[in-house]
Structure formats: C-alpha cells, structure tokens
Symmetry: C2
Subunit: 165 residues, 2 copies
C-alpha cells in the first residue's frame, strides 16, 4: 500500500466488497456543503453575530444569508440569541454552538491548505498564530496518544463488523 492512502483493515480490506454507505464526510457535507455556509461559519469564528454583518462580510444577498443562517441554526451549528438595542425591537444574533465550534478544525484545514497552494506570489493574507507561544497554527492529524499521524500510518476499521484480530 502506498504512503498516500490509509490502511483498510479487516472486512474493509477488499474495497470491492463495500462502499461507504454511512459515510460521515458525506453527512457533514449535507450540513455545510455550500460555499456560503462555510463562509458564514468563518465569520462566526471571527466574531460576527448579527445578520447585517454576515450579509456584508460574506458578500451574499440577504436572502442567501437568511437561508444559510436558518439552515445552520436548524442543524444545531448556530443558535439564535435575542438582543435589544435602546428604542428598537428585539432582534436575534447568531452564535456558534459547541457543535459549530467543533467545525473549526475543518475550516482551519481548508484555510491552511489554501494558504499553501492557492495564494501565488502574494502569499497567504493572514497568519494563524498560537497566542500563548507565537508559533504557527495548523490542523494536524493526531492520535489520542499525541503522535502526529502520517496518512500511511492511519488505519480504518469497520466499527460494526470487527475483524478477527
């Protein structure tokens, strides 16, 4: 097996015998498949909360922003929180839920990949840094024991049909 593919173990080893029917990448994409959904999430991570700010900063129409915010709220990624400015009616702002916050590694991975391959001579527009130590931050593939895991050391095992080992 080459080093750029994962190791398929047990019942998965014969690729012709299965397809990824309950794939959770696919499931995740059903929630955040559109460019506008991803960019609204980006803005939420930057601290944007209010409808008008999402419209302006993402650069979409009000109709698109409203649809995406509703979908992301229905999916549980954002939550609506009421707020009121003096003399105005109650409005709602949008904040990330824990489910939404947990999408951050996916967005950062895309950002850092874009930084690496898609910025040309101008270079990346932003630096992502760890506030406490100043080192560059990226999304890495890591195991619970703390090892950085190259793709070639990653093993995929079917959870419902454990292999014999």
């Amino acid at each position: 097996m080459s080093q750029d593919t994962v190791m398929l173990e047990g019942a998965l080893a014969d690729r012709s015998a299965w397809t990824a029917e309950r794939c959770t990448i696919d499931a995740a994409l059903s929630v955040v498949s559109t460019r506008s959904a991803m960019l609204i999430l980006r803005e939420a991570f930057y601290g944007t909360r209010r409808f008008d700010d999402f419209v302006e900063r993402v650069g979409v129409t009000e109709a698109v922003a409203a649809a995406r915010l509703r979908e992301l709220t229905d999916a549980g990624v954002l939550r609506r929180v009421p707020y009121q400015q003096p003399g105005q009616r109650t409005r709602h702002e949008y904040r990330l839920t824990q489910m939404g916050s947990d999408l951050f590694p996916a967005l950062l991975a895309l950002a850092r990949w874009g930084d690496e391959y898609l910025t040309g001579e101008a270079g990346p527009p932003l630096q992502w840094l760890h506030h406490d130590c100043g080192a560059a931050v990226s999304a890495t593939v890591t195991c619970a024991a703390g090892h950085e895991v190259p793709i070639g050391e990653l093993m995929v095992r079917g959870r419902r049909r454990p292999s014999s080992r």
Copy 2:
C-alpha cells in the same frame, strides 16, 4: 472576547474596517466545493484509482465522475498515470499529488465531526486508528511548538500589514 472566536489582532481587530477579500477558505472551496469532489477525494485516500471504481464507489454518473476527475486533475490535486492491462489499450488512473494528500486533514476533520454529531444511535461506521499505537485519530488544531490550541488562544494577524507589536 468569547472563547469560541479567534483573536483578531492589529489592523484586523476592527472587523468593520476589513473583509476577507483574499480568504483562502474561499479559495480552497473553489477547488473542492462540491460533494462529489470531496467524495472522490475520500475514495482516493481509500486507495481508489480507476475511473470505474470512482463511479461505483462514489455513486455518481460517469459524466459527473469524469467532470470532477478532470477538474481535480487540472487543479493539481490528482495526477493521471497511464496503465495497461494485457490486450487492452492504455488507460489512465488517478493518484493523489502532494497537494491532494495535504487535503487529508480537512476531510478527516469533516469525518470526525460527522462521527460526533451526525450518526445518531448507530454510532460512527468507521474507527480511525493510529496503526502504530492503536489510539483514535482526529484532526486537531496544533501549533508548530506542539501545543493543542483552543479556538480562544488562536490569534489571526494580517500578514501584509503587520501591527506595531
């Protein structure tokens, strides 16, 4: 600033003064925005290389698979490699380039997020494990000094307009 948003530093601190014009998340999504592009990449990481296998395993039409494979090849994510079976004409298979391999953290992040939030009672279909130690693998936000970085400790600095500190 709340703990679920990044710290915007220097010229970025006033969100009303800038928008993400050269956003590399957006740039990345211009390459891998479609569900079918992401699922073709998933298959490439599982070791799929041949056109017919992509069609079958992703569950798309031949036209869609051909369009996505061409786009991903043009973008530099996949490369075409000739192969020949006895008595048949030369065909091409598709392999990940380094650029393509480097998308793995983004796909894994989506997969693990889906595992966590979108599988219901059935639970995740697959286990992602480090072959060498057996520990569960995920996409984490980590700095070059090896610290795992919570969102609230992540600082974003404009690269072209360094702040005064």
